[in-house]
Symmetry: C2
Subunit: 404 residues, 2 copies
Amino acid sequence: MARLVMKFGGTSVANLDRIRNVAQRVKREVEAGHEVAVVVSAMAGTTNQLVGWCQELSPLHDAREYDAVVATGEQVTAGLTAIALQSIGVDARSWMGWQIAVETDGQHGKARINDIEGDELIDRMKSGQVPVVAGFQGIGPDNRVTTLGRGGSDTSAVALAAALKADRCDIYTDVDGIYTTDPRIVAKARKLAKITYEEMLELASVGAKVLQTRSVELAMKERVRVQVLSSFSDAPGTMVVDEDEIVEQEIVAGIAYSRDEAKVTVRRVPDKPGIAAAIFVPLAQANINVDMIVQNVAEDGTTDMTFTVGKTDLALAQSCLETVRNDIGYAEISTDMDVAKLSVVGVGMRSHAGVAGTMFKTLADRGINIQVISTSEIKVSVLIAAEYTELAVRALHSAYELDA
Amino acid sequence: MARLVMKFGGTSVANLDRIRNVAQRVKREVEAGHEVAVVVSAMAGTTNQLVGWCQELSPLHDAREYDAVVATGEQVTAGLTAIALQSIGVDARSWMGWQIAVETDGQHGKARINDIEGDELIDRMKSGQVPVVAGFQGIGPDNRVTTLGRGGSDTSAVALAAALKADRCDIYTDVDGIYTTDPRIVAKARKLAKITYEEMLELASVGAKVLQTRSVELAMKERVRVQVLSSFSDAPGTMVVDEDEIVEQEIVAGIAYSRDEAKVTVRRVPDKPGIAAAIFVPLAQANINVDMIVQNVAEDGTTDMTFTVGKTDLALAQSCLETVRNDIGYAEISTDMDVAKLSVVGVGMRSHAGVAGTMFKTLADRGINIQVISTSEIKVSVLIAAEYTELAVRALHSAYELDA
């Protein structure tokens, strides 16, 4: 007998039939003798509609009111799922964030969970009741509803699993696990049986949009065993686990890509101390996330500084740099939207040399120019022209012997 | 300077444009120097959809989950209305039932308000903030969301007006006041400038569906001055007030009709003590509301008992009477769906004789047969064949000199 948190995303509860399907899956686990808590997202499309209404009324709306409006989506699903469970003989009740309580900080619209009071839910689970928790929401210090930011229901589920000391947190979605790369691009992509937290984190942050990055961080910190699987099939999913649970570690776990970034080059910046800060501090103050950064060697006392930002932040980044143009004293800014970031991820890199070299050679063999390189302990990322994305992903997938 | 509660029904907040219109109306009152609290319904159609989902998942669903689901409609409107107010420079914030708190009993799906803590809202109104309250909802003794039953936002508004000691409760709807009768039937129907609580209560309970009956009862009990007016026009509305506020009292305030009732006749019931109880106690236990009741004089030791119930309760009433057939010993039950109830309402009846006589004569002159009669201190109701409804309403409207 295990204690499980089962989380169902928007497509898994998109309509009443899908909610009935969720109820049957939960019933199966309950009948297998497990203690189960359920976390639900809003029905697919609901959150977008609610967000759209807030934005249409006022682009700069009060985040506290946004939260009151948007949190209703999960509340509806929680109530409906409880009804669906009861109708097939499973004792269940819905819980909103403020009822549990899921205590968050006061950052409305992107709150962080501080604490979840799990005792009452544990008591009810022990007595056979299934708590159905509205994901994505909590209650702030101001006694008002908070939301965790888009995709926050994953984080709700992992945090709840930690609070309930659950043996596993199953994240049901519309894909049946984590693949070595995007199966829409590489037909030979393989589903991974297991992946480490660290790898999942790198993959989540470079564009494999299965799990919210924060939920993986939290799972790693709290050592919550997470399984990603599909509510549309009975195929086994991918377990996200501690490194020491994986006996035969592959060197490379997967290839990810992202077309969400744009490249910015600040040309002919004076090559003197403090110049990087002069560029990046104003961007940080404008809340712009800068990803890859390279600085060329100086010539004639000036250098070129290249970095990437999210495409949605590009206009803001440009105007931000215009305002500090005189302080920095650069010649010009050039930008490029037609770029893609490719990442090779694997904890095996720590102990195996040559992973980056294989990447560079594979791309060079296809005549693909590398514009920017950035590395972490378990990841190598390169920026290339977007038109080569599929070619490069397929080539790397073969080069690292990931093909099925 | 006055303190106002402004309540907006579903059609008044049906979409973002209508919500913007609501915000402008609120702003106008704020700029006139009034302290304003707003109560909102769900956007038109939302509640029906949410109720439909609950019923489709399980016809006999948990009322506590129904409440969690259905209460979201008003929560969305409250948040959106607060955003709309802020966007035009009016300080506002949304309040859910559990935040205020609007304390109700534990009858989920049809809860009654026990108490509203108004102090915090009053403080905020004094400081210039507009509370935007989600109508129709409260919190029960189990710390779960309750709803007040369909149309309950009117009751929310009146109860809030009482708690806030408001000078007036303005109920904005899609009609611009209370008319002497239904203007769709009688083109010469006049809008009343004022009507007494007692008259409004009789009209509300006999089919003039402008205000929920319970809201009028509460207004009368708490002496809340209620105004019914339209959010679609700037015409003055109808004030629902104490009798002594109306100087020139008409004898008859209005003519109402209802096609929502069905007639049931229990034939050849033994004419002995306790027989009425034998019929009506089981109906009451089945939660069936019985309205008009007549008992004919006995012949041959038996009598016929005729009464009306809501059409939606007719099947239940019949099966209920079948089960006690042997106890009662009646010959047969006959039913008639094709009936209409006409009511003439006016506090002036108390001091003026002949109101009922005028009604009976007017109908007789048109050859309309009266099937059942029931009277109260300020109302005379008759049951007639439904096909005569419009004819009868027009004739009575003229007979009581209500034509404009």
